[in-house]
């Protein structure tokens, strides 16, 4: 026996002894035994349907990754309104891998928000919230709230102009609540106004309170998934009957003899690997997000935007009719979560198959469609005045009469061009006036400019005498020499 082989054997003996000791004293036997024996519905292991049941575990793993990257960031971040922005810049530029970890944390957060909705959609489509899994769903709704709260506070902790605006917007919206509004506003700001105490409370919530609540709720959620069993893929004509379901489910899984480990777990781990790979790839290619402009409340020339996860809401509060102000700003956020909590209480039994539940499919499809539409329109932001628009260049106006040249200048100066196009130049909030001039008489347009209409301000107190005519001259000149406007 060579010396090396002897050492290897001795090492193995020691390792086994240590392993046995830990196995015994840490009482790992029931855990390993449970993992080894836990049965899941056979469809998950033997059919490709298993791929629809991987999102929950991916959320747990991305959450763990967020704890790792987040705790690393907390070592450099200073939650003071004066320093926070600088420490993020410091992370980006000075700390080795600081920017990379910030990017990981941002794209991890994005993955959390995305996956929580994917997971929830799957649960709705397969009716998995029904008996006996009502509390699985309710804890899930709690986790949804917490994930969104983390996304919101995280965006705020970036403490740039967008971060500051986030607090102000939150405070203003809460301030609209009847009775308690003003008090809530003061609680969000930790005072009458943005100040030295505002940021640290959000830091404490984001870094300690919300994560602890999440760990607790994830614990209950996973425990219930284990105790109630993973819901079996539904089949039409096999409704949930609380009287017999548990017994049926036990027989179903016993007979199927498909075990969690590793018969279905491998899919979850493959999916986690894909999610991690995407997060890493995005972090490498895009780098960290922000921080943007310094958080100076006296700088008003900024265009605040929420992170992508709240863009849909940012668009929604534009699209809603004025009469629905309170509904969208106050009652919708206030009531949507209680409504979700009550869903399994009122629809806790019966068919689970999506083909027998067209309303569930419709709700999921409509939500996704609405979300996508709102997000895209928020990115386009047609209603935002185009503050960067440039005056019409001299060259274009070379042949124009003097009045038209004045009108072009006024069209820019008086702010028409922020919202209106003429000659393919200007904002998209209001109609393209070259096009309007084709369909509208000069006097009609004059009335609209002077009196205002809808979202058009009344310019009667703003325009000097003669300016109205110059602007109209310019607008109708943009039609080109061959077109004669109607009427007039």
């Amino acid at each position: 026996m060579t010396r090396l082989r002897w050492i290897a054997l001795a090492g193995e003996r020691v390792a086994r002894r240590v392993g046995r000791w830990v196995y015994d004293r840490a009482a790992l036997a029931p855990i390993f035994d449970f993992l080894d024996k836990h049965k899941v519905p056979p469809e998950l292991g033997r059919t490709r349907k298993g791929w629809f049941y991987v999102f929950g575990q991916a959320l747990v793993f991305v959450f763990l990754a967020q704890i790792v990257t987040g705790s690393a960031l907390a070592m450099k971040y200073i939650p003071s309104p004066d320093h926070a922005w600088h420490t993020l810049e410091f992370l980006n530029t000075e700390v080795v891998w600081g920017g990379f970890v910030r990017a990981l944390h941002f794209f991890g957060a994005s993955a959390m928000v995305l996956l929580v909705f994917v997971h929830m959609s799957r649960v709705v489509i397969t009716g998995s919230y029904k008996y006996p899994r009502e509390v699985n769903w309710i804890t899930g709704v709690g986790l949804l709230v917490l994930v969104l709260a983390m996304a919101f506070t995280g965006q705020l902790l970036r403490w740039d102009q967008d971060g500051v605006s986030t607090v102000m917007v939150a405070a203003t919206m809460l301030g609209r609540l009847p009775l308690v509004g003003e008090r809530l506003m003061e609680i969000v700001l930790a005072g009458d106004t943005l100040g030295g105490a505002t940021l640290s409370r959000f830091f404490a919530l984001h870094v300690i309170v919300f994560p602890l609540l999440m760990i607790g709720l994830i614990g209950v959620h996973v425990y219930l998934v284990v105790r109630n069993g993973v819901s079996e893929p539904p089949r039409a004509g096999r409704p949930v009957d609380p009287g017999t379901y548990r017994m049926w489910y036990r027989r179903h899984t016993e007979a199927g003899n498909t075990r969690y480990w590793p018969d279905v777990a491998w899919r979850e781990f493959v999916f986690v690997a894909v999610v991690y790979a995407v997060i890493f790839l995005l972090a490498v290619t895009w780098g960290p997000k922000g921080p943007g402009a310094v958080p100076d409340p006296t700088m008003v020339e900024v265009v605040p935007r929420p992170d992508w996860y709240f863009l849909w809401y940012y668009a929604l509060i534009w699209y809603k009719p004025a009469a629905l102000d309170m509904v969208v700003l106050v009652w919708f956020p206030l009531l949507v979560f209680p409504a979700l909590v009550l869903l399994p209480i009122f629809f806790g039994r019966g068919e689970r198959a999506p083909t027998r539940r067209p309303w569930a499919l419709f709700a999921v499809a409509a939500t996704i469609l609405l979300w996508a539409t709102l997000t895209v329109s928020a990115i386009q932001g047609d209603w935002i005045p185009d503050f960067d628009t440039e005056p019409v260049p001299e060259a274009v106006l070379e042949d124009a009469p003097l009045g038209v040249r004045d009108g072009a200048g006024l069209f820019y100066e008086r702010g028409c061009q922020y919202c209106h196009m003429a000659l393919e130049r200007g904002g998209t909030y209001g109609p393209d006036l070259t096009r309007s001039a084709r369909e509208m008489s000069r006097s009609d347009m004059a009335v609209r400019i002077v009196m205002g209409i809808g979202n058009m301000p009344a310019y009667q107190g703003i325009l000097e005498p003669g300016e109205l005519d110059a602007i109209l001259d310019y607008i109708f000149w943009t039609l080109g020499p061959d077109v004669t406007p109607e009427g007039d």
């Binding site: 086994r16 392993g19 196995y23 015994d24 009482a27 790992l28 036997a29 029931p30 390993f32 035994d33 449970f34 049965k39 309104p81 004066d82 922005w85 102000m168 203003t172 919206m173 301030g175 003003e182 700001l189 930790a190 005072g191 009458d192 106004t193 943005l194 100040g195 030295g196 105490a197 505002t198 409370r201 548990r246 310094v294 958080p295 100076d296 409340p297 006296t298 700088m299 008003v300 020339e301 900024v302 265009v303 605040p304 509060i317 534009w318 004025a322 102000d325 209603w383 935002i384 005045p385 503050f387 008086r414 702010g415 922020y418 919202c419 909030y429 205002g452 979202n455 301000p457 703003i462």
Partner: protein, 213 residues
Amino acid sequence: MPDARCPEPDASGQNRGEDPLDDPAAPGPGQRGGEGSSEVPAETHDLEPLPELPGERRRVLALLAGGIGAVATGSLIVPWLRIFFDRAERMDSEVWAPVGGLEEFAIGKTTKVTYRDPTPLPWAGFVAHNAAWVRRDSDQEFSAFATYCTHVGCPIRWEESASLFLCPCHGGAFYADGTVAAGPPPRPLDRFPIRVRNGTVELRTVGVPDPDE
């Protein structure tokens, strides 16, 4: 419902092959405590087994333990809430802050003024400073507007040549007197009290102005 996590003893045999340590000698789940239970002496101590506590007494003890738990939780939650709801005192932050000399404001013009919170926390930095839009309506009359849109609170900018306040979030617009010109804002711009004292323009700092005032 039988507990799936309580293995039957005969299951330990098949379990051994997949033991994490791959050691046939490792104790299976059926033999927890693997020191050989048959050798444990029957007589482990010589105390008489105590009679079970009467139900009434157990209820009282459970109530006691639960009560201690509740009091302990409460006595931690109450200070937590006190800290969470703490805020800078309102009285301190309302003072007349000078924002410029009378001659700095042209009649009919709107200017951005900045002021420092009267009693900022030492670490407030950027956010100790605030802005307001001040318009000189006539020789001695001024209006002061908050820089936040009344829709959802985005910062509004004054466009001098257009004579409008414009919001970059949802296209809200206000006239020079703060009334709504267009877009979704539900009410005019919030105003600060403003006055002229000895040739100095002074603004009453009320934090984010209260819409009811």
